[in-house]
């Protein structure tokens, strides 16, 4: 009963205009049914568990226990206790549904994360707040941003089919709608979302071994399965033929991306002779920065150096590295990549 009246009591306590202080505090100190139960709720005992191993804990041997339990008994076949995920998705109405990806029994399950990367920790503790302080734009209270009008073009004409048709993109060939520049807040500090390592191997049209070597190298340095791509068009000048496999890419996210960038910035780039930095002309205006490494530079990765002999030296490819950030301009993307330790040279592309 006391619990059911609680909302009413709260409302009256808050709404009463003039009242003595004792009345105002009263609801807070009222004893409820749950009051006694609260101290019995245990705080986490995870850290304490390791501190006190007693005799029972010391002698515990899971393998021996399991053997003793199974001795003299016939084990059930796995089909009786193991759930096997269906190989194909047969629609939402099928009784045999796939497991969620997070379940270790699922076919699509990927273990991880395995570490807390140093780059992520630096980003959270240092880089993000510095970028916020550097790019913060103050607006006085009461300021309202000017309204952004429709940036897409309407269909103009008499045709009745123009009604309800999706709006047209910007005029001109190759023109795209540029990203909006939102004012900087703590919610939209640019961060690295992905890294794409790409290697184009036109020699693979003559000898597919080049393709395999490029794939192995990219997998070794990125820790990610590569994807191979076909040429989309015939290009006579480059000897490209449509439909032939010519390039491999590895798309890195989260932990893999952080580890790859750490390795690149702290191990590989400092060892390159007379490396000038990332060209300042890099950047597509949407927050992506790219630069390339030559075959000699790619061979400096520790994963390749450790068994350099395993790769045919003539077949080691170069690669392009694209750092994909959620910045909305070249300037912000450059600020972020400079903060993680990539220098830029030459004329900057703004």
């Amino acid at each position: 009963m006391a619990l059911r009246e609680l909302p009413y009591r709260t409302a009256t306590a808050l709404c009463r205009d003039a009242r003595p202080t004792v009345n105002a505090i009263q609801p807070l100190f009222r004893r409820n049914a749950s009051t006694d139960a609260a101290p019995e709720v245990e705080t986490t005992s995870f850290a304490d568990a390791a501190a006190k191993p007693d005799a029972v804990v010391k002698d515990f041997d899971p393998i021996a226990r399991s053997r003793a339990r199974r001795r003299g008994k016939k084990q059930l076949p796995p089909s009786r206790y193991q759930y096997r995920e269906p190989k194909y998705y047969r629609g939402p109405l099928h009784p045999h549904q796939p497991l969620p990806v997070s379940d270790p029994a699922s076919r699509r399950f990927q273990p991880g994360p395995f570490t807390l990367p140093r780059l992520d920790q630096t980003y959270q503790s240092t880089i993000a707040q510095d970028i916020l302080a550097m790019t913060y734009q103050h607006y006085p209270p009461g300021y309202r941003a000017p309204k952004v009008e429709q940036r897409l073009r309407e269909w103009q004409g008499d045709s009745p089919y123009y009604k309800g048709r999706p709006l047209r993109g910007p005029r001109g060939k190759g023109e795209v709608l540029r990203l909006l520049q939102e004012p900087r807040t703590f919610r939209n500090i640019p961060k690295i979302t992905k890294v794409v390592v790409h290697s184009m191997v036109p020699e693979a049209m003559q000898d597919s071994a080049n393709m395999h070597v490029a794939g192995m190298i990219l997998q070794a340095i990125t820790n990610v399965r590569v994807e191979s791509h076909k040429a989309r068009h015939n290009v006579v000048g480059w000897g490209l033929r449509e439909g032939r496999y010519v390039s491999v890419t590895a798309t890195l996210e989260r932990e893999d991306a952080s580890h790859f960038l750490e390795k690149l910035i702290d191990v590989v780039l400092p060892r390159i002779k007379e490396w000038k930095g990332v060209p300042g002309s890099s950047g597509d205006g949407h927050g992506n920065i790219s630069f390339g490494l030559t075959p000699d530079q790619l061979a400096l990765f520790p994963e390749i150096e450790v068994n350099y002999d395993a790769y045919p030296p003539k077949m080691i490819p170069g690669c392009h590295i694209t750092i994909i950030t959620d910045a909305t301009s070249n300037k912000d993307a450059r600020l972020l990549t400079q903060a993680i330790g990539l220098p830029f040279y030459g004329k900057l592309n703004d």
């Binding site: 399991s66 395995f114 103050h138």
Partner: protein, 339 residues
């Protein structure tokens, strides 16, 4: 009885829907927002509403510098995080394809033999997850026992170093082979300790302490109060003043970088009685605006300090709470980094 109905009725009876604090104090933002939708205001949207309520009062404006040294090393993992990472690594051993041995070690070479010896000892290619086999009948036994060290960072570092320095022949009693192999393997430098000498001595003047935390420069001013370096703003802008304060207070023997030109926090305090200025204004108190700076190299030196500072300390957030006054702490705590 229906509790929801009762509440609604009680709320209707109560009358006032504005709390008492809001009734007593004017709300400048709300009035500005309420005035916004009028049409003549649409043109003037870029002009900030500047209105001084009482022109006879004023505050002294100070510039302050929040000089910090960012964390130098990664943080210690919580035991739960460490256990989780080890669990995921062992799970990966079960699910990943087997290690491609002959791609890395040519058959019947010394390196290959060493690999075989080490694999026989630890059962898995991974060097930092302890003795565990990911394939076979007993692969389910992937949980570490109570009190096991496998998930600890230092244990994993030790195993990696041991792997680099040994050949696996030591345990087999092959003393000659082990001695020969030991001569070949180079001595590896152990990574320096995560706890430094300054940590043990609790030397708060040193920058080589609390490597996992952000350290802030705190100075003792003329009155004996601990605060961030600050000074009255002269005929200059905020970041110019911050640069001047850095140079004059803690000496030029610091390589510093001013992060941005905007203040990241402010501290306001009132005098006990307002001061009359020669201009006829009443000065109510001081307002200090803090700019952020990072120290790259060097150390603070108060020898030629022009601001009359007596002492300095490098403290992290939790230590800072105890060093400064409660009111100061209340106003500056939100501009300090957690780590």
């Amino acid at each position: 009885m229906n509790a929801g109905q009762q509440t609604r009725r009680a709320a209707a009876r109560a009358g006032h829907s504005i709390c008492r604090t809001c009734l007593s104090t004017p709300r400048p933002y709300a009035t500005a927002a309420a005035a916004a939708p009028t049409p003549e205001d649409a043109l003037a949207q870029h002009i900030p509403p500047v209105a001084q309520s009482s022109p006879s009062t004023s505050y002294a404006v100070n510039a302050g510098v929040l000089l910090s040294r960012p964390p130098q090393i990664t943080r210690d993992l919580h035991p739960f995080e460490a256990a989780f990472f080890l669990y995921q690594k062992r799970l990966n051993e079960r699910l990943a394809l087997p290690f491609t041995r002959y791609f890395y070690f040519k058959a019947r070479t010394p390196a290959d033999r060493e690999w075989k010896r080490k694999m026989a000892q630890r059962l898995t290619p991974a060097r930092d997850i302890g003795r565990y086999k990911g394939y076979g009948e007993e692969a389910w036994n992937d949980e570490v026992l109570v009190g096991a060290k496998e998930s600890e960072f230092q244990w994993q570092v030790d195993r990696l170093l041991e792997d680099a320095q040994t050949t696996g022949a030591e345990e087999e009693g092959n003393a000659v082979a082990a001695a020969a192999a030991k001569a070949e393997t180079e001595a590896f430098e152990r990574p320096p300790s995560r706890v430094t000498e300054a940590d043990e001595k609790n030397d708060t003047k040193s920058l080589a302490r609390a490597l996992q935390r952000t350290l802030y420069l705190l100075v003792k001013n003329k009155e004996g109060r601990w605060e961030f370096p600050q000074d009255r703003l002269r005929d200059e802008n905020l970041h110019g003043a911050a640069q001047r304060i850095l140079n004059t207070s803690a000496g030029p023997n610091m390589n510093t970088w001013l992060v941005g030109h905007v203040p990241i926090g402010h501290y306001a305090s009132n005098y006990s009685a307002p001061k009359s200025l020669p201009t006829g204004l009443q000065e109510q108190g001081t307002k200090t605006f803090f700019l952020k700076a990072r120290i790259m190299a060097g150390q603070a030196n108060l020898k030629d300090s022009a601001l009359g500072l007596k002492d300095f300390k490098w403290l992290h957030k939790q230590e800072l709470e105890k060093a400064v006054e409660p009111d100061y702490w209340r106003q500056v705590k939100n501009m300090l980094a957690e780590r």
